[in-house]
Symmetry: C5
Subunit: 305 residues, 5 copies
């Protein structure tokens, strides 16, 4: 995610958006060279094969499936991105609610404090699972002996931490720190954490069906590479500039879709999970009247990760 943004149209026109351009450059260059070649042979071709030339209307026929594929891929990818963002928003919301409940119902209880630490650990462990990162430093800092080893060794780390949070609340209930109804109020929020976890796992483990990627890539690539041949009959030496620009908009749209499809990565347009985890811990610590022990993640260039 970007840190600061500009809204000047002139600067946006010339800004370098590093996560997209390098990936489409090979195809753009191909379009450029085909355009040059097409403009060069145009005169000869039209005199020899006047009745067999691609023209712009032929491209409008391809445009229907192109529009469907690109529009579909685009909205599905963005919905995945936004659903992922909502799930991480939920994580903040539910963690705050759990902290509010623990702090108001059992202000001086040691398990209540462990519960809040555990909520923070859950966020770091979820980030680590989604990114294939290592969360050991954070887990060592935040989890007590009774769960630490199991959590470090486990395959579904956040699920194990969540199960342990359930044991904490059951223990607080057995110890008399929580009434029946208060246990229920916390348990409902643990259910919500389970929904956040399962939702993120679902997005991470289920890509857009493979056939869509194949079809979209083929349609966009073939369309772009044929474009110079279609344009050259009517716009001549303007072809290289116009064909490259049109191909750029299609190819960039395809690539941004690929990036947003997996929103938990570390590319420029992905969700800043490190910053989100830090924000969650900061807010919970402020509610406890404390400072967060870990430093805030630094942006790299204009992007947060």
């Amino acid at each position: 995610m970007i840190v600061r943004s500009t809204s000047s149209w002139l600067r946006l026109l010339f800004v370098w958006h590093g996560s997209v351009l390098p990936r489409i450059m090979p195809r753009l260059l191909l379009v450029f060279f085909i355009s040059i070649a097409a403009a060069a042979v145009r005169g000869w071709w039209l005199s020899e094969h006047a009745d067999s030339a691609l023209s712009i209307p032929a491209f409008t026929l391809m445009g229907v499936s192109l529009a469907i594929f690109l529009g579909f891929r685009n909205s599905v990818s963005y919905e995945r991105f936004w659903e992922a963002r909502k799930l991480w928003g939920s994580l903040l919301i539910v963690n705050r609610s759990l902290a509010r409940q623990a702090l108001s119902l059992a202000p001086d209880n040691a398990d209540a404090r462990r519960l809040i630490d555990g909520c923070c650990a859950f966020a770091y462990a979820l980030k680590a699972q989604l990114r294939g990162d290592d969360a050991e430093a954070h887990l060592r800092r935040l989890l007590p002996e009774e769960i630490l080893d199991k959590a470090l060794a486990g395959r579904f780390k956040p699920a194990l931490i969540l199960a342990w949070l359930g044991q904490l609340t059951a223990r607080m209930h057995r110890d008399g720190a929580l009434s029946d109804m208060q246990w229920h109020a916390l348990d409902r929020n643990l259910n919500s954490l389970s929904e956040v976890l399962g939702g993120c796992e679902r997005i991470a483990s289920t890509p857009i069906p493979f056939t869509y990627r194949v079809l979209l890539n083929r349609t966009v690539t073939v369309y772009s590479l044929l474009l110079p041949a279609g344009l050259v009959t009517s716009i001549g030496w303007l072809t290289p500039a116009i064909a490259v620009f049109i191909a750029y908009t299609y190819l960039a749209l395809e690539v941004i879709g690929e990036e947003l499809e997996e929103p938990f990565g570390k590319e420029g347009n992905d969700l800043p999970l490190s910053a989100l985890c830090h924000g969650i811990e900061s807010s919970l610590r402020e509610m406890q009247g404390e400072d967060v022990a870990a430093p805030a993640p630094e942006p790299r260039g204009i992007y947060l990760y």
Copy 2:
């Protein structure tokens, strides 16, 4: 679902996506031969019937309904696929919550252990009902005597297992292992299992209205078969290549829609229900500190089932 995916545009261009191409090949061949024929008779036709030739603009009129049908079918099919995936995500979420509650509230209770086994059995039984599979091996492994025969003989197996889970929790409540409120917390999650079951049954039993399939098939097929006649007047001997490519994008879009419409099947783009069931049991067993007894399903080629 695919196991590993590539994002190289060049490899995607030439990959063989086996679940789609064979089903559209007959129509693609038809388009190819019509194109050859059209290119061959073009000169004669235009000299005889100059005022009766299909041209590209005539196809833009058909394009409106084609775009509506394809776009609609595509998004409805994908929504069905994604809703099915969400329901199976919910199944994991709710099963984990039930296991968390059982393990923290009644850690040493025999019925609590039966409850977790029953949650796994519910998943396998649901898979079997949706795919027309046989889940007997898993049910024999996971269910106790008191319900096994009834579950094996029943028509709505998952519903019978769910009813039995209700009896388990009611028994735990009567035995004093669960308070009133704790029974309620488990009962709410059983309601959620009922929602997952009913949601999957709804998707499996209600296809997209028949008329849509008829209309879409007719529009796409007629459009594709007329395409060579429309293109040949302006692009001549380029027709076979271009017409087959355009027809390919439309027909593939129709076929992927058909595959996603029934997401519980065993085709390449369907949901990997076997892997999902195994993942659910793995996660629950890990919470219990155990290993899963059944082996993980093997991918066939690049696809998981």
Copy 3:
């Protein structure tokens, strides 16, 4: 809803979909005869009024509103159909949950059995209200004396049955068969039945705003009838075939929208409410270890009702 479906493109091309074609036949014939007439007078008209001829591009201007109207009508109608299906899915889900609760909490209670019968009666009464049917036979079979007369005479039958289910659960609570919390668990599911009822009533009583139907009908009809005049200048004697085919896709799309808009009817694409009611009772009876007393509804031809 259709019973068995085929996915062969060739058979779909020639299948007779009886609920749509008869309703658009008059307009299709009109388009056919106008096409013949247009092709016949073309030569004379173009020589006399060369500067006043409809051509294909003029239709692309009408295409914008046509696409908006057809696309909008189509998705709104399908959403109504699918929401209705979801509500009936909910009915199954909630009835199963109520049966599970009744059977596990009060297995030998006479009122618990009445509750399950009442849930089935609610489904039949809802079907009758939505279709303007008569549910007397089912209600006599399922309801006890205390509510039968009131339910048969009432205007909002399902609402009366639901209110009586509330009295049943309150009586079970007063008799000590249900604890406070257990009464609450059943009461929440009764609230859900109320949502199903109100949702179905909303769809049945609120059609798509009248102006849309007027506008869509006018646009589609005028467009179809003008089509031959626009096509004839460029495609000559191919006009009758092409014009009728294009008009067919638009008119069929309009008519399928009309059918799906009111999903509780008895046409081919409507929801099979009789089968759904029977499925609900079957599943509940199986949970009780009994058979359903009423026979399953027979499909008529390829359709279930």
Copy 4:
């Protein structure tokens, strides 16, 4: 909302839909006279300024923004209409649930009866607030002394009635007519009434952003008025008929959007709030075994209000 509707395409072609046509007539007449003028001067203009004539393709460029504006306005307006309908559907659902709970839990309690009267009063007060109507007659009929004056004088009438319903349930709880859990079950439904109220207020107080209305009006109007100049070069004296018809579809689409955007008004396509209020009271009275005291609202012509 319309009372009875027809599905004959022929009658829909000539029906007079009174709430739309009068508002677009001035612009339609303008388009008609511009068409006549354009057809009259065409010959002279084309001979003088052959290189400066609008033609149909120029309009396809405007078509992109026109389609986006109209499509967007249309779906947003319809969603507002349908959300409003859902909220009023919820009102019926929740009121029925409250009545069911009151009648089953405290059948002979005077406050339970007041509660049901209060639910009806809430509906009438909400209608009055949304329409700027006067609900005094209904409130006098339905509310007791203790709240009547406050409700009649207040600015947020439904909110005051809702607060009083909260006092009623708290009083029933203090009097022992409701247990803790039963009070909670009613309180949850009062929360739902609060959601209905807030949702309706949100729709009523937040129109579609002003800039959209300005942009849509300008695009549609300029497009319509230029249309004759663009069509006349190719279709000559057919221009008046075709241009007026195309403009009619666009302008009508704009105006129906404006009507649906504010669904609580009294125009033909608005929600029939009076009928809905009466339906709610009828259903609640039937549950009490009584008749509704107020007469049903009469339709005006074919419309219900």
Copy 5:
């Protein structure tokens, strides 16, 4: 948000919408001067480079990505705006429910009164956080000593106030003013406030992915600046008027998207947070039978802020 709106098409045609036009004026002027230049050199260019001229069909190829970008940006921005509005609607709904519960359950309790004041303070603090405003005056007016300093100094002010509301309800429960279940009913509504807070923070902190803004700006700007060259070959000296109008609709659509994307700002189309806060306090005070202490915010011109 606008205060009063007009629906006369004639006045909307000439209204000055101040928040959009100034931001697109530079590009509109550029389009105008390019149009003049293009019309001036047309004759010379066409005679020298007849085979290299942009024409209208070339723009329809760019139109596909333009339509996808504009349509996508438009609907995403509006959804953000509307979701933000729904969250603020929820704030009113939940605050009213909390006030209803406090007033009916503990009418004379000092903490109940503090709770209602705190709900109002939460709204003002949320507005201040979202706008970067200062809420000190309101917080001093509404919060008691025990929380005031912490709230004024904190970074996440609304979260701190919410945690304190949790302590208030826990205190009322410990003091015996609320039963277990009643504490739970209030706690659920505090969870909902947490959802409103987290939802607003999510919208405010996560802009639309940067690459979309870059791509949309480039496509719209390049398309607009090339437009005169494409139009001039067919419409000559009409180009300046038509090109500026078409560019106006695209550029305005881009800019309105940017404004709605961040709905918590102080521009003409943003949400009137000050008015919403005042409305919330007014409604709560009326329920208490009091007047609101702060004056209502004044509209500036035709806009509310």
